[in-house]
C-alpha cells in the first residue's frame, strides 16, 4: 500500500460472521469512517422491530401518492394506443380532438411511417379538463394503420421465416432495477438476439465424464408487475426552463435526468417528488414506462396547455405497456459421476421480453452449486410483438431458479438421492449451508418427506410434497451515490434528509432508527424527510440496494453531527474531548459531569448543527471469498410444503419456511413483511399468474386484475420467516439487501415439492390443475 493510500485508510478489528461462526477480522476502512457495527455492537434502536413511521399516514388515507396530487387548473391526460400487434402508422391527425369538449392540448407520440410493434404502442396523447373528457376525445383523433404480420409466441418467433419484430439491431436498455453486470453483446439471428453467457470449466468434458445425466426443457410464463398504483406522473412547468414532477417512481433521480434530457433542461431545474408510491417491483424507473413515453407526453401536454397535467395510466394500460418478467424456455442438462457429484451444468435459455431485451435467467444455475466444476449458462432474447419486459424483482432469477432447482431434484430422483443432501454436497457458501441445515431441522425435512412418500405409496387422494430451493443475489450497496444530511436544531429537533423514495420497504423508518441510535434519542424525536430530489442525491430502489446505500450514509452523517455536539459539550464542560462520552439518552458526559441533550442543543451557535455524508465502497470483509460472484453474495433458502388434491389437480402451497439474511437486520418488523411479500409473489407466480396473449390476433386477453390472477388472502400459505443475521463488515451499519432474494426461490421450491407430491415433474409454470392432472396421468413434464 502506498504511503498516500495508507494515510487515507485505517485498519479496524471487527467480530464478523454469523451464528456460531464468528471470528476476529481486520478490515481496512477509510480513515474518517466510523467503526463499522459488528457482532459486538450492542444497539438499542437498530435491530428492534419498529412500526413504520409513515404508517399512520397510510392508515388514515392522508398519505399523498402521485394519483392523489390535485393542483389548481390541473388537466388530465389520456393516451391513444395502437390496437394492432404490428402495424405501420399511415395517417395521424390530432387536430380534430382539440375541438372536443374540455380538450386543451394534444400531441402525437408516433410519426406517419413508424412501425408500432405491439398492441398498446403509443400513438397520441391529449389533455382535457376531466378524465372522462380526455378519454372520450381519444376517438376524435384521426388515425389509420396498415396492419402487418406479427408473431407473439416465443417458439414461433424463433423459427426461420417468422415475421421480423425489429428491422435493426436493438441495444439493451438497463435500469437501476437490473442486476449490475455486463449488457449483452447483441448479435442477432432473426428474432433471436444472442445474450451473454456465464461459463467456467468445460461443460462438454463434464458431460462426457458423467455416469448419470438428466436433460429436459423447462418453461415459464410472462409475469406482470401489477403494482396497485399504476404508472403516473404530474408535470407542472414553473417557468419555461424549470419543472416540478410528481411521479410514482422507484428512482427519483432517474426521473429527473430523463425529464431534463427530453426537454433540454438542467437536471437541477427539474424537481421530482415521490412522497409515497403504490408499489413498483422494478417497473418504475425513469419518467416513462418501458412501453410508453409518459414523461414526454405529460411534459409536452403541460407545456402546450400552460397548465399542470396529470397522467395516470388505467389498469389495462398498466398491464400492457409498463413491463413484465419475460417468459423462458430453458434446456437444462446435468451430469453426475457415480459418486453423485455433479460434473456439469449446462443451461440454454431463450426468453421473450416482447419488443425489449432482458430475458436472461439470472445466476442460480451458475452461482449456487459452485462445487460443480463445469458450468455453462447461455441466455438469449427472442423478440415478439408484445409489450416490453423490464426489471421485475430479481430479474431473471425466479425463472432460472425454477429450472435448475427442479432439474436438480429430477437428477436426485434418478440417482435415488435425497435432494437436500445433493444440494449440501454442492453448496460452498457457508451461510447458505448453515441455512440449509437449519431448515432441515426446523422444517422436519426427513419426517415430512417420509410422510409424503407414504401417502403417495398408499394412493391417498390428498398428497403432500416437500421441496427446497436456494437464492443468490449480490450486495450491490453503492458508494458515494446517496448523500444524507442530518441536522440537530437548537430546539433539539432532529432531521434526516435524503432524496430516496420509499417503495413500501420502510426506508424512512430505517433512516430514523439509524440516526436515533447514533444520537441516543428516541425515534419519535427524529423527523425523516425523503421523497424529493431537493433533499439530496440518492439511489434508485432497485437491485436490493437502498438500505445498504442509504443507511450507512445516514450513520456517517449522524456520527459527524454527534462529533460536533461532543466538541461543543467538551467546551461547555471544560474537559478535553478525549474524556467525553455519549450516554444512551443522548447526554454528553465527562467525568461526573453530564449535559442533557436538550441543554446541549440550546447552546448550539447558530440555528443547527448539520452534516452531510455518503458511504465508501464496500470494504468487503467477510468471508473473503464469495462463491458465485465477486462481491458479497446474499444467501437465502426456502422450504415448501404443498398439498395436492389428486382428484381435482389443485395444488396448494401450504407452508413456506423462508430463511434469509440481509446482513444486519435493521428493522425485523418491516424486513419480515418484505420477505413475506416476496414469498407470496413467488407463490402467485408458481401457481396462478400468467399473461395470456392470443396468437391469432396478438392481443393480451387478461390486461386486468380479474382474469390475471394474483394471490389473495385465501391463497396465503403459512409463512415462517427466519433471519440468519450475518455481520459482513461491508459498510458502517452492516446492511445488505433483502427485497429480491426473498422472491427468488419460492416458485422453485414449490415446483420441487410438486414433483415430490406427484412423483413426476411439472416443468411449466404456473403449476395449474390441468398440468398437475396431466402429470398424474403419466405425462412427464406436462
Amino acid at each position: 500500500m502506498s504511503q498516500e493510500e495508507d494515510s487515507l485508510t485505517k485498519n479496524v478489528r471487527l467480530r464478523l460472521g454469523f451464528a456460531d461462526q464468528l471470528r476476529e477480522v481486520t478490515v481496512t476502512t477509510p480513515k474518517d469512517e466510523p467503526r463499522p457495527w459488528d457482532a459486538d455492537s450492542a444497539l438499542t434502536v437498530v435491530g428492534q422491530p419498529t412500526p413504520r413511521v409513515e404508517g399512520s399516514l397510510k392508515a388514515s388515507g392522508a398519505a399523498v401518492y402521485t394519483h392523489d396530487v390535485r393542483l389548481p387548473g390541473m388537466l388530465y391526460a389520456a393516451i391513444l394506443r395502437s390496437p394492432h400487434a404490428c402495424a405501420t402508422l399511415e395517417h395521424l391527425d390530432v387536430a380534430a380532438a382539440l375541438a372536443q369538449p374540455g380538450v386543451v392540448a394534444a400531441v402525437p407520440l408516433a410519426k406517419v411511417g413508424d412501425r408500432l410493434r405491439f398492441a398498446g404502442h403509443d400513438v397520441a396523447a391529449l389533455a382535457a379538463r376531466s378524465r372522462d373528457e380526455a378519454r372520450a376525445a381519444l376517438s376524435a383523433i384521426a388515425v389509420r394503420y396498415r396492419p402487418e404480420p406479427f408473431v407473439v409466441d416465443t417458439l414461433e418467433a424463433m423459427q426461420p421465416g417468422a415475421p421480423q419484430v425489429h428491422a435493426a439491431a436493438v441495444s439493451e436498455r438497463r435500469t437501476e432495477g437490473d442486476e449490475p453486470g455486463e449488457a449483452s453483446g447483441g448479435a442477432a439471428r432473426g428474432n433471436v438476439r444472442l445474450g451473454p453467457s456465464q461459463s467456467k470449466g468445460d461443460h462438454k468434458k463434464g458431460l462426457r465424464q458423467a455416469k448419470v445425466t438428466h436433460s429436459a426443457t423447462y418453461t415459464t410464463q410472462v409475469h406482470t408487475h401489477s403494482a396497485l398504483e399504476t404508472h403516473s406522473l404530474v408535470v407542472r412547468w414553473e417557468d419555461p426552463r424549470r419543472m416540478t414532477v410528481w411521479c410514482s417512481t422507484q428512482g427519483i433521480f432517474s426521473v429527473r435526468d430523463e425529464m431534463a434530457e427530453i426537454f433540454g433542461l438542467k437536471p437541477a431545474d427539474v424537481r421530482v417528488i415521490t412522497e409515497h408510491l403504490g408499489g413498483g417491483f422494478g417497473a418504475k424507473f425513469g419518467a416513462s414506462a418501458p412501453g410508453s413515453r409518459l414523461g414526454y407526453a405529460a411534459g409536452e401536454l403541460a407545456r402546450r396547455a400552460g397548465a399542470p397535467v396529470s397522467l395516470c395510466l388505467d389498469r389495462r394500460e398498466e398491464q400492457l405497456c409498463t413491463g413484465n418478467r419475460p417468459d423462458s424456455i430453458q434446456q437444462v442438462t446435468l451430469g453426475a459421476g457415480a459418486d453423485g457429484a455433479l460434473t456439469a451444468i449446462h443451461v440454454v435459455a431463450h426468453g421473450s421480453g416482447g419488443i425489449a431485451t432482458g430475458a436472461g435467467v439470472g445466476r442460480s444455475a451458475f452461482g449456487v452449486y459452485s462445487r460443480c466444476p463445469n458450468i455453462k449458462v447461455e441466455s438469449h432474447d427472442v423478440f415478439t410483438n408484445a409489450g416490453p419486459s423490464t426489471a421485475f424483482r430479481a430479474p431473471g432469477h425466479p425463472q432460472g431458479a425454477f429450472a435448475i432447482e427442479l432439474a436438480i431434484d429430477e437428477l436426485a430422483q434418478k440417482m435415488g438421492r435425497d435432494p437436500l443432501a445433493l444440494r449440501l454436497a454442492h453448496v460452498e457458501h457457508a451461510v447458505r449451508r448453515y441455512q440449509l441445515e437449519l431448515g432441515r431441522e426446523r422444517f422436519q425435512w426427513a419426517a415430512r418427506r417420509a410422510e409424503a412418500e407414504a401417502r403417495r405409496a398408499r394412493g391417498a387422494r390428498i398428497r403432500h410434497g416437500v421441496g427446497v430451493a436456494c437464492s443468490i443475489w449480490g450486495d450491490y450497496g453503492r458508494a458515494k451515490a446517496a448523500v444524507v444530511t442530518v441536522s440537530v436544531g437548537r430546539d433539539g429537533a432532529i432531521f434526516v434528509r435524503n432524496g430516496a423514495q420509499d417503495l413500501g420497504t420502510g426506508i424512512r423508518t430505517v433512516l430514523g432508527q439509524v440516526v436515533a441510535e447514533v444520537l441516543g434519542r428516541p425515534l419519535a424525536e427524529v423527523t425523516v424527510l425523503i421523497g424529493d430530489s431537493e433533499l439530496g442525491p440518492s439511489v434508485g430502489s432497485g437491485g436490493s440496494q437502498t438500505t445498504s446505500s442509504v443507511a450507512p450514509a445516514a450513520r456517517n452523517a449522524a456520527e459527524m453531527v454527534r462529533a460536533q455536539l461532543a466538541e461543543l459539550a467538551a467546551r461547555l464542560l471544560d474537559r478535553p474531548i478525549s474524556e467525553l462520552s455519549w450516554g444512551t439518552d443522548g447526554s454528553a458526559r465527562a467525568g461526573r459531569r453530564s449535559l442533557p441533550f436538550r441543554e446541549l442543543c440550546q447552546k448550539i451557535e447558530g440555528e443547527a448543527v448539520v452534516a452531510s455524508a455518503t458511504r465508501p465502497k464496500t470494504y468487503g470483509a467477510h468471508p473473503m471469498r464469495y462463491p458465485g460472484g465477486d462481491n458479497y453474495q446474499i444467501a437465502g433458502v426456502q422450504f415448501a410444503a404443498v398439498e395436492l388434491d389428486t382428484w381435482t389437480g389443485e395444488l396448494r402451497a401450504a407452508e413456506i419456511l423462508a430463511i434469509h439474511e440481509c446482513g444486519r437486520t435493521h428493522n425485523p418488523l418491516t424486513a419480515r413483511s418484505q420477505v413475506q411479500g416476496g414469498v407470496l409473489l413467488g407463490v402467485s407466480y408458481a401457481l396462478m399468474e400468467a399473461r395470456v396473449i392470443d396468437r391469432r390476433f396478438g392481443q393480451v386477453l387478461n390486461p386486468n386484475l380479474e382474469s390475471y390472477k394474483i394471490a389473495g388472502a385465501r391463497d396465503l400459505p403459512a409463512i415462517d420467516v427466519v433471519f440468519c443475521e450475518v455481520h459482513t463488515g461491508a459498510n458502517s451499519t452492516g446492511a445488505v439487501g433483502i427485497g429480491e432474494p426473498a422472491t427468488i426461490p419460492t416458485a422453485a421450491s414449490i415446483a420441487c415439492a410438486a414433483l415430490h407430491a406427484i412423483g413426476r415433474p411439472v416443468r411449466s409454470l404456473p403449476i395449474t390443475p390441468d398440468r398437475v392432472l396431466a402429470a398424474l396421468a403419466g405425462q412427464d413434464g406436462a
Binding site: A59, A62, A227, L228, R315, L705, E706
Partner: protein, 210 residues
C-alpha cells in the same frame, strides 16, 4: 321510455328479475303494479330524473351532511377523488376486481368504482378518512400500523374498510377464515395479508377485552 325515465345502475344490477327492472325504469305516471314491486322506502326509486348535466345530490359523507353536484354517469369513486379531492380511497382496477376503492354505504362494503354517485343520494358513505373518531385512529387502524399490515399502503384503505365492516358485524370471537373471507376481494401486491389478519384479530381481541 318517456322523458321522465329514471334508470339506476343499482336497479339494473339488482338482478334481471323483471319486477325491479321495470320498477326502476318506470316513470311517476306508470301503474300501481310497479309501485307495489318495490319498497317505497327505497330512496333510489324515489329519485327524480337526472342528467345529462350535473345534478345535485345529498348524502352524509364521513358523518357530515353534504350536497354535491355530480354527472349521472359519475361513479362514487370519481366523485370522491376527482371532485371532492378526498383521495384516501384508491383507484386500482376501476372494475370491482381489487377492493382498493372499498367504502361503506350505510355500513355495507361496496366498491366505489362500481357505484354511481347518484346511487348514494340520501345514504351514509364512510371512507377511510371517516374511520377515525374525532381525529383518533380506530383500534383497527392502530393495529394496522403496529403490526405492519401495510407496505406501499395502496391497498390499505380498502383493507381497513373490509375489516372494519367485519368487526362491526361479527358476533363472538373472529376466526382467521372469517377475515380471509372478508378480504377475499382485496388484492395486496406487497403481500400483507398475514399482517392484515393479525391486525384484525388484535383489534377484535381489544374490543372483546373491553
Amino acid at each position: 321510455m318517456t322523458g321522465a325515465t329514471k334508470l339506476t345502475r343499482r336497479g339494473l344490477l339488482r338482478g334481471f328479475g323483471a319486477a325491479p327492472v321495470i320498477a326502476s325504469c318506470a316513470g311517476p305516471s306508470s301503474g300501481e303494479a310497479a309501485a307495489e314491486a318495490v319498497s317505497p322506502a327505497d330512496p333510489l326509486i324515489d329519485a327524480v330524473a337526472i342528467g345529462p348535466g350535473l345534478a345535485p345530490l345529498d348524502l352524509r359523507l364521513n358523518g357530515a351532511a353534504r350536497t354535491v353536484e355530480a354527472a349521472p354517469q359519475a361513479t362514487l369513486l370519481a366523485l370522491l377523488r376527482d371532485q371532492l379531492a378526498i383521495t384516501g380511497t384508491k383507484e386500482v382496477c376501476d372494475r370491482g376486481a381489487c377492493g382498493a376503492c372499498n367504502v361503506l354505504i350505510d355500513g355495507e362494503v361496496r366498491s366505489a368504482c362500481m357505484t354511481l354517485a347518484h346511487d348514494v343520494a340520501g345514504r351514509e358513505v364512510t371512507t377511510v378518512e371517516g374511520l377515525a373518531t374525532s381525529g383518533a385512529p380506530s383500534p383497527l387502524q392502530r393495529a394496522f400500523v403496529e403490526l405492519d399490515a401495510l407496505q406501499c399502503g395502496y391497498c390499505t384503505s380498502g383493507m381497513l374498510i373490509s375489516c372494519s365492516a367485519l368487526l362491526s358485524r361479527a358476533r363472538g370471537p373472529l376466526s382467521r377464515a372469517q377475515i380471509q373471507g372478508a378480504i377475499a376481494g382485496n388484492l395486496c401486491r406487497c403481500g400483507c395479508y398475514e399482517q392484515v389478519i393479525a391486525a384484525t384479530l388484535s383489534a377484535a381481541g381489544e374490543r372483546s377485552a373491553l
